[in-house]
């Protein structure tokens, strides 16, 4: 499989890249113009969906740092998503902490949890790590349901949070305010991830993925970077989980099952492994495909419940077969492909 060409731009800067950077800036500007206009165009429920897209995008960036860039397969990121969500929900409902102040706690707790899970993960090669994280994903709903934590987690009933209003008397509806909150968090975290990947640390984690032994001989501390990467990745998932708890206003063990973890995997595969901006496409996909499948339920009846899973499954295999670098990779190669397609054959 060819993973998207993620050589840091600094290394491969050529005069022609200036143009690409210009296009990149333009795309970024367009994205923000659309993203900022959206809350004033879309209705409440649609806005809620777009907030969820941003939340998924945050979690996907985190997972992509770990799986796409560092090559550690995690099938259990739903667990860290759940940990972040429950951290926020418990702090708000049991300790009366304001909702915005819970996100740093979710960050710290999930980073610590990820780092600690990452330590034993150091000894597990690709396949075994996938196994261990798969087990984590399957066991998560049961653990959240554990009677001993009922006083805090509310057991299978879950926890309800009230929807926060916009602060400082801003003339925004709660949905608009939450959307902007998600957008701000996502921007910050995307920016951080892009910088992380572009710099020295990014080169180190990619080197560890591509050739651990060579990376080690270059003086890269593999265990430190791998565990760190796991921690940072869990931090992203945790922030996403915390935001999801605030936006949805509800957490329960059933919302964090294996399907969530596998959806995250689907998201990074669709968006493009080892790509930061690509995950936006993955997030759109993961949010809207189950939604549209739900709308088809009058067509298929009860079996429409199976539709998202079927689409995900077929797509995972088809993408690995046809387009292993996802939407991001396709966008990157599309101009070259199109120009080759439409250019006249050279005269011989």
């Amino acid at each position: 499989m060819t993973i998207a060409d993620d050589t840091p731009a600094v290394l491969s800067a050529k005069p022609a890249e200036g143009e690409a950077r210009l296009w990149g800036r333009l795309a970024l500007g367009l994205f923000y113009a659309a993203a900022l206009a959206l809350p004033f165009l879309a209705s409440g429920y649609h806005l809620f969906q777009y907030s969820q897209v941003l939340i998924y995008a945050i979690a996907l960036v985190g997972l992509n740092l770990l799986t796409g860039y560092n090559g550690q397969i995690s099938l259990g990121h739903g667990a860290f998503f759940a940990l972040g969500g429950y951290t926020t929900a418990i702090l708000v409902t049991r300790f009366g902490v304001p909702y915005w102040a819970t996100l740093p706690f979710a960050c710290v707790i999930c980073f610590a949890a990820g780092f600690l899970f990452g330590l034993p993960a150091l000894r597990l090669g690709g396949l075994y790590l996938a196994l261990a994280t798969f087990a984590l994903a399957v066991a998560t709903p049961q653990l959240l349901n554990f009677k001993g934590f009922d006083a805090w987690t509310g057991g299978s009933q879950g926890l309800l949070l009230s929807k926060p209003h916009a602060p400082f008397g801003l003339p925004l509806t709660p949905d608009q305010w939450l959307y902007f909150l998600c957008l701000a968090c996502a921007s910050l975290l995307f920016w951080a991830a892009a910088n992380l990947v572009r710099g020295r640390i990014g080169r180190a984690i990619v080197a560890i993925r591509d050739h651990p032994i060579a990376a080690e001989t270059m003086g890269i501390n593999i265990s430190f970077y791998k565990a760190m990467c796991f921690g940072v990745s869990a931090l992203y998932a945790g922030v996403a989980g915390g935001l999801a708890a605030i936006v949805v206003g509800f957490v329960s063990p059933d919302s964090f099952g294996l399907f969530l973890s596998l959806s995250l995997l689907v998201g990074i595969v669709v968006g493009g492994l080892a790509s930061i901006w690509g995950v936006l496409f993955g997030a759109l996909f993961v949010e809207f495909v189950p939604n549209y499948a739900d709308q088809l339920s009058d067509l298929f009846g009860e079996s429409a419940k199976a539709l998202p899973g079927a689409i995900y499954g077929v797509l995972l295999i088809a993408l690995m077969y046809l387009m292993p670098s996802g939407v991001a990779g396709a966008l990157k190669t599309a101009p070259r492909f199109l120009s080759r397609l439409f250019s006249r054959p050279k005269q011989v």
């Binding site: 597990l124 066991a139 009677k147």
Partner: protein, 290 residues
């Protein structure tokens, strides 16, 4: 004390199911060094096929044999069509493909047979065996079936030319090809056998856990735990590991953590075994040349 013994024996019955599924996992692992995440869902689907056949009026033994045979060819087809193109791909790609298969089988079963829970009758007569008061007849039967499957698999690999060829292909593909073994087909047959064995596991598990599209998820996790605990490159180790996990799970569920978080036992066993002794109790440590 009686309750404790009862827990141990019903643990052994479920352990038999885990052992069979672990054996299926080991079979694919030995040939390709991959762990098939879709093994449980494939077994679930086979069980649905058997249920469907019985529902249409076929007697149990015929339905059992037909389901196992169909699973065998289905497994072979999956290897030839879906897995083969990724033979040289990195682990991440293959894991993603396995997850894709898992999702497809799960949702197709849900689509075709709906998500409502069904009962699956046990093939064994309802009286207790030999006045054994610790196990239900199905539990006794499941253990018996486990041993029969083990004996058959052992005999196949030990005494038939095809079994020998498959072992050779798994151990040294290059040399096997030189002596005329079709290594690609051996892999496909390995997948077919794994699917067939998994089908048996599914049909033994279904009367205990009831039939629904998610029934094998937990069982697959315990089978993983069993295979890892016993050593994933050693069939006997995996079988012993499966039985051990069955008993551990039942005792822990009854006396230590409570039945509602039993799955975390599997998580602890998997992570613990991988960290403390990655080769398992009976496996050989994996040595790679730098």
């Amino acid at each position: 004390m009686t309750a404790f013994l009862h827990q141990i024996f019903s643990g052994l019955a479920m352990g038999g199911v885990y052992a069979i599924l672990a054996l299926a996992l080991v079979m694919i692992y030995q040939a390709t060094h991959l762990v098939n995440f879709a093994q449980g869902e494939m077994a679930m689907f086979s069980t649905y096929i058997a249920w469907d056949l019985i529902d249409r009026g076929m007697p149990y033994p015929a339905a059992f044999l037909l389901a196992v045979t169909l699973s065998f060819f289905g497994g072979m087809a999956i290897e030839r069509i879906v897995i083969r193109p990724f033979a040289q791909a990195p682990v991440l790609t293959i894991v993603i493909v396995f997850i894709g298969l898992l999702l497809i089988f799960n949702s197709v079963a849900g689509w075709r047979y709906s998500y409502t829970i069904k009962t699956f009758d046990s093939p064994f007569p309802s009286g207790r065996w030999f006045g054994n008061s610790f196990m239900s007849s199905h539990e006794s039967g499941a253990i018996l079936v486990t041993f029969v499957v083990l004996a058959l698999v052992y005999a196949f690999f030990r005494f038939t030319p095809l079994g020998l060829a498959m072992r050779a292909a798994a151990q040294n593909p290059a040399s096997s090809r030189l002596v005329g073994i079709k290594v690609g087909w051996m892999l496909a047959i390995g997948w077919g056998l794994a699917a067939a064995i998994g089908a048996v596991a599914g049909m033994m598990a279904a009367p205990i856990v009831y039939l629904d599209p998610n029934m094998m998820l937990g069982i697959l996790l315990y089978a993983f735990a069993g295979a890892i605990l016993g050593g994933i490159d050693n069939p006997w180790g995996a079988v012993v590991g499966g039985f051990m996990v069955g008993v551990l799970e039942n005792i822990a569920g009854a006396y230590l953590v409570g039945p509602e978080i039993k799955l975390s036992v599997a998580l602890v066993i998997i992570v613990g075994a991988l960290v403390i002794r990655p080769s398992g109790l009976f496996g050989r440590p994996l040595v790679t040349r730098v």
